[in-house]
């Protein structure tokens, strides 16, 4: 319970700093933010009006409190390009991004867990070499290159899947998956590579432990040792990496959405960047960053469940001093 409280305080602090950073982004804009938002052709009067509307003429702390006050109440501001409330735009685009990420992770774990365990168990055999070598090569292929390869092979050459575009779930699961499978795959393969490598090396470490020797000495079958004794401690690292990997996924999903024209938060952000719709960009970045913080907070809470050794971390630390 104490651990939970500490983690919760940490969460609040991190969210606070994330919000400050996001808030300050507008002030990174060269020159006056209002001028940048409205463009070079804006009249001085229009700039003044926007300065007032965004509170930009007030001291920074006042601006921040006002800004965060609105956000807490769900008001992310209004786009100066199309007049749409930013919060509403984000809500409309969020489900596509979530579906993309969940789908890619399902693919990634389904492929990586058996591969990683097998590669560790059969270390230095051809299975291991293909799994290790393959994941090694995949690490060098960012989502945007994978996406281009998939588009070229499966859409341009073979016409199996559409190159771009999105069909919502409401139009049928099959039609929806047809537009989602290439983007999800582009995003998933990088994760597969990371998970296979982590799981393999973790499993190898765990398999060196004495309790594995003991289990083998007792004559337990290999598959039982692997799944029951070795896999669980190895998942500790896997979950950590999966949590951190979400950051990579979000970045990847931005690009993948851009390439496949999927109407997710990534596409909204990228489009907004180019239409100089800075208020929308700011809102998207805040939502994405806070979502990431919260997911990692949940992953942190999972540690003691998975790995009992971390439950006495504080005692161990005190012993050091």
């Amino acid at each position: 319970m104490r651990r939970f409280t500490i983690k919760l305080i940490e969460l609040v602090v991190v969210v606070f700093f994330v919000s400050i950073f996001t808030f300050l982004l507008l002030h990174l804009l060269p020159g006056s933010p209002a001028q940048s938002i409205l463009g070079a052709s804006a009249t001085p009067h229009a700039v003044d009006v926007l300065n007032k509307a965004l509170n930009l003429d007030r001291p920074l702390p006042v601006q921040y409190v006002d800004w965060i006050g609105h956000i807490v109440r769900g008001n992310f501001g209004t786009s100066y390009v199309n007049g749409q409330p930013v919060g509403q735009a984000i809500l409309q685009h969020l489900p596509v991004t979530l579906e993309l990420m969940v789908l890619s992770q399902l693919i990634a774990f389904a492929a990586a867990i058996p591969l990683g365990i097998w590669a560790a168990y059969r270390k230095n055999t051809w299975v291991d070499r293909i799994a290790t070598g393959g994941s090694f090569a995949l690490l060098a292929l960012p989502p945007f290159i994978l996406a281009l390869i998939f588009v070229y092979v499966f859409a341009v050459r073979w016409h199996l899947f559409p190159a771009t575009g999105f069909t919502p779930l409401s139009a049928g699961l099959f039609e929806n998956l047809r537009t989602m499978i290439l983007p999800a795959l582009s995003l998933a393969l990088g994760s597969v590579a990371i998970y296979v490598r982590v799981l393999r090396s973790e499993m190898i470490t765990v398999l060196e432990e004495n309790f594995i020797t003991a289990a083998r000495a007792k004559g337990m079958p290999s598959w039982w040792i692997l799944l029951r004794h070795a896999f669980r401690p190895a998942t500790f690292a896997l979950v950590t990496v999966a949590g951190v990997n979400i950051g990579y996924l979000i970045g990847g999903s931005f690009i993948v959405e851009d390439i496949f024209a999927l109407p997710g938060v990534g596409l909204l952000t990228v489009d907004s960047i180019f239409s100089r719709d800075y208020v929308t960009v700011q809102g998207c970045i805040l939502v994405v960053a806070i979502g990431f913080v919260v997911i990692n907070f949940l992953v942190d809470l999972l540690y003691p469940v998975l790995d009992p050794r971390t439950r006495d971390a504080r005692i161990g630390r005190m012993a050091v001093h």
Binding site: A140, E208, V244, Y248
Partner: protein
């Protein structure tokens, strides 16, 4: 497949007792590879080639990478244009070589920043724990709280796309992962018997950190740093691809891939070359990182 699949696993496999444990008799007695494989030198050769080409780009007999109309658009590879020309008739070899500059500058500079700042922070946080750890971890968590590419994207979007801003933005990215890895490793070693022994013997904290912890943590930190160079190259590529790094017509691999994507069905080669260069460079750097780690015997296992 090439021999890469044979040498990719860590070279010092014989030391892993797990191999003997789970599949006894798999390896011969005392096989202890203590040399760098052929692929290491191939990788090193490729990196040398890219680095030299990037440095000497102006002196090499290359076409102007931005001059339009010197040749027909969309030519295939020929003696005049080894890699062909793009949709505007610009020489692709020249553009790839000049594009390498951007990737390498950003990759190396940002990693040095990350290693110095992140490594130090991680060591302090991991060893001392307590309030120091809470403070540093908090700062690192704030940094990590931004999905990496989004942090860079945010900085570059609002500060303006330029090489300097991109380098800074990606440099900031590598601080947090390095700090986190070093911290996690330091915590692991700080509770080991040999460290506790030193503590019991009354060895000074600073000496313990430098003599007992750093030598154990450094190989991991360096091997991660070797991976952040290619990661930075990929991040720059992604920003370039989105049009947020150096602006066209100045070539970078990312913006070349982005331009090639628009004519993918007609001229697939235009996107292929920069993709291939990025892939090979990142692959070679990753591979060198792994080999170096194996060579210096950074064990996968525990003690």
């Amino acid at each position: 497949m090439g021999p890469s699949l044979v040498t990719v696993p860590e070279a010092s496999g014989a030391e892993d007792r797990s191999v003997l444990l789970l599949s006894p008799g798999l390896l011969g007695e005392g096989v202890r590879k203590r040399h760098l494989g052929v692929l290491f030198w191939v990788s090193a050769g490729w990196i040398t080639l890219i680095v030299m080409a990037a440095i000497l780009a102006n002196a090499l007999p290359l076409d102007n990478p931005t001059a339009i109309g010197n040749a027909a658009p969309g030519l295939g590879p020929s003696w005049g244009h080894l890699l062909g020309t793009d949709e505007l008739g610009r020489d692709l070899l020249s553009r790839v070589v000049f594009g390498a500059r951007i990737s390498l500058i950003v990759g190396v500079t940002s990693t040095v920043v990350g290693l110095l700042i992140g490594g130090t922070l991680g060591l302090i946080a991991g060893y001392f724990g307590g309030i120091v750890d809470t403070f540093i971890s908090g700062a690192v968590n704030v940094l990590l709280a931004f999905p990496s590419l989004i942090l860079a994207l945010a900085i570059v979007t609002f500060a303006g796309p330029s090489l300097f801003h991109v380098t800074i933005a990606i440099g900031v990215l590598s601080i947090a992962p390095l700090a986190r890895v070093v911290r996690a490793n330091t915590i692991g070693y700080a509770r080991r018997e040999f460290v506790q022994a030193a503590q019991v013997l009354g060895v000074r904290q600073r000496r313990i950190i430098f003599r007992e912890i750093v030598p154990n943590v450094l190989p991991t930190a360096l091997s991660v740093a070797l991976v952040t160079v290619p990661a930075a190259i990929l991040a720059e590529g992604a920003l370039s691809f989105l049009g947020l790094s150096i602006q066209p017509p100045t070539p970078s691999w990312g913006n070349m891939i982005s331009e090639g994507r628009d004519v993918l069905a007609k001229y697939p080669l235009i996107a292929l070359w920069p993709c291939l260069c990025m892939l090979l460079t990142v692959l070679a750097l990753n591979f060198i990182g792994d080999e170096v780690r194996a060579y210096f015997d950074v064990r996968e296992g525990g003690l």
